[in-house]
């Protein structure tokens, strides 16, 4: 059969960011793929070198709008380590609280996107409606819905009052009930199982070899979580389970994320009920002594690594960010191999890419010498139709 190469991206209609996949197809089956990045490259690491540590805080927050707290916390831990600052316990607790709220918002967002790519739009609307509860909590605590800016060098900007605690707990209780429904849906709904089981397989040895992180690795049965392996903030004092699943497919990634939501609610409850007393920040000098620091952090998508080198001035000499999606993208080409074209949107969405955008796909038929162009939307429809012919239809629910 003739091989066809289709470019995927970089323009997109939904919420994903620019990125390009070149897929080699044999009929409807994928026999190889190449990933091209750089459409979203802004040059932030260089820009960080010309800004002060406190200005960088607001730049680093904008690495990503979904996991902004992850990036600032990792960056700030480096700065505080170099400045030898003793951060108060209460500040660490508030950082942990925001981190878990962020994980809840990110996982709910992902559940919705996965539902959308499957053709299960009701799930998308449900989870995004419920996600507003977390955004309200974040707005209540930090003053903003997306970029919380709760971190400042030496602590946090805002304290948590008793009324805020009660309000957050009330909303988390509501979400706990909703999440039980989503877990039931994920585990028992035959249409979801039919769309996700055995799709985008990633065996544990390949996941290790390609350095998969976060829920993607955990769904392949690898017990890897920075919160457990090398606890930061208050995680060593908190009780939570490390969720893994051994089906190695998109179904496993769905289950891992849904069950992690429950663990996050447990963590939020523990932090709020045992908030240490004391100040929320300490003073840190503007100029940081020369040195190097590396820290990692379990962002909603996986391990986030920051490297920072200081040179004695108020500006860093070098900053390096390794975001989790970069680690997970290596596994995507393996997951796509041998799969169907119709599963591509779901497989790519399953790693929860933070910088992916896939809209236009042109199908190049070498035999006929013709080019047909697919939009992401059409490709999504193709996937939904493909499964409809096989009797999997969400519209009948």
């Amino acid at each position: 059969m003739a091989k066809i190469t289709i470019p995927f991206g970089p323009q997109h209609p939904a919420l994903k960011e620019p990125e390009n996949f070149m897929l080699v197809l044999e009929g409807e089956q994928i026999s190889g793929s190449t990933i091209n990045l750089g459409y979203n490259h802004r040059g932030m690491e260089k820009a960080a070198e010309s800004r002060t540590y406190i200005q960088n805080l607001y730049l680093i927050e904008r690495v990503c709008g979904i996991c902004s707290h992850s990036h600032t916390t990792t960056y700030i831990t480096n700065v505080e380590e170099l400045a030898k600052a003793e951060v108060p316990q209460r500040a660490l607790a508030i950082r942990t609280l925001i981190a878990e709220l962020e994980r809840v918002h990110s996982h709910l967002l992902w559940l919705g996107v996965a539902g959308y790519e499957m053709g299960f739009e009701t799930l998308f609307m449900y989870t995004w409606r419920d996600r507003e509860q977390v955004l309200d909590c974040l707005e209540l605590l930090s003053g903003n819905r997306v970029h919380y800016s709760i971190n400042t060098i030496g602590g946090v900007r805002r304290d948590v009052s008793a009324e805020q605690k009660a309000e957050v707990l009330k909303r988390i209780k509501f979400l706990e009930g909703r999440t039980q429904y989503y877990i039931k849906l994920a585990l028992e709904e035959p249409t979801i199982a039919a769309r996700t089981a055995d799709v985008g397989k990633l065996p544990p040895e390949v996941a290790l070899e390609r350095g998969a992180v976060g829920p993607t690795a955990r769904a392949s049965g690898i017990a890897r979580d920075v919160r457990k392996d090398e606890p930061y903030l208050l995680y060593d004092k908190l009780d939570f389970k490390l969720i893994t699943h051994n089906t190695n497919d998109v179904f496993g990634r769905l289950v891992v994320r849904a069950l992690e939501l429950v663990e996050s609610y447990k963590l939020i409850n523990q932090v709020i009920n045992n908030l240490p007393e004391g100040p929320i920040s300490v003073k840190v000098p503007m100029k940081i002594a020369p040195g190097e620091a590396v820290n990692h952090y379990e962002a909603p998508r996986g391990e986030d690594i920051h490297y920072l080198k200081s040179n004695g001035t108020d500006k860093p000499e070098r900053l390096k960010v390794r975001a989790p999606t970069l680690a997970n993208l290596q596994s995507v080409s393996y997951m796509l191999d041998g799969g169907w074209l119709a599963d591509v949107p779901l497989v790519i969405a399953a790693i929860d890419p933070c910088m992916s955008c896939t809209d236009r796909a042109a199908v190049w038929d070498q035999k006929k010498g013709k080019m047909a162009v697919y939009g992401w939307e059409e490709l999504r429809k193709l996937g939904i139709e493909h499964y409809k012919h096989r009797g999997i239809d969400f519209s009948k629910l």
Partner: protein, 147 residues
């Protein structure tokens, strides 16, 4: 005004179709744009629909600073849209480059250095209410101009 122009203006005012384009944003504005379309804000009830292709869109919603890689793609997409077309710069980055102004990978200045902009919506990130307000102001100005 010809009848056909009247019809086009009427359909634009009643149901503007939008295309969302991420020209290098941090995702913050993008999730807020999607938020505006989902149940809490639900701008779809005003006839505002998200479209997948520029050829069906009346309004191009651009979030983020324009990266050098995306600039020519953005221009192509703008050219593919049928007239009359409008551009909304969403967020501080779209308006002026925001926090990324001066980065080597970003076109200096805001979105208006690449394509003409009709509406600027400030905020980092913008709130869904601000997006709705921007759409309403745009509709009002088109309505006023068509009279």
């Amino acid at each position: 005004m010809k009848t056909i122009d009247k019809l086009i203006t009427w359909s634009l005012l009643k149901s503007p179709w939008i295309l969302h384009f991420n020209s290098g944003a941090c995702n913050g504005c993008d999730i807020e744009v999607v938020d505006a379309l989902t149940p809490k804000y639900d701008i779809e009830r005003f006839g505002i629909l998200l479209k997948a292709t520029p050829r069906h869109a009346d309004v191009l919603v651009v979030s983020g600073p324009v990266t050098r890689q995306q600039a020519k793609r953005l221009k192509t997409i703008y050219d593919q849209m049928p007239d009359p077309k409008f551009v909304m710069a969403v967020g501080a980055c779209g308006c002026s480059g925001g926090v990324f102004d001066g980065c080597y990978g970003v076109v200096p200045g805001g979105l208006d250095h690449v394509i003409p902009v009709s509406v600027y919506i400030p905020g980092c990130p913008v709130r869904p209410e601000a997006i709705i307000d921007g759409v309403v102001k745009m509709i009002q100005s088109v309505e006023a101009a068509s009279k």
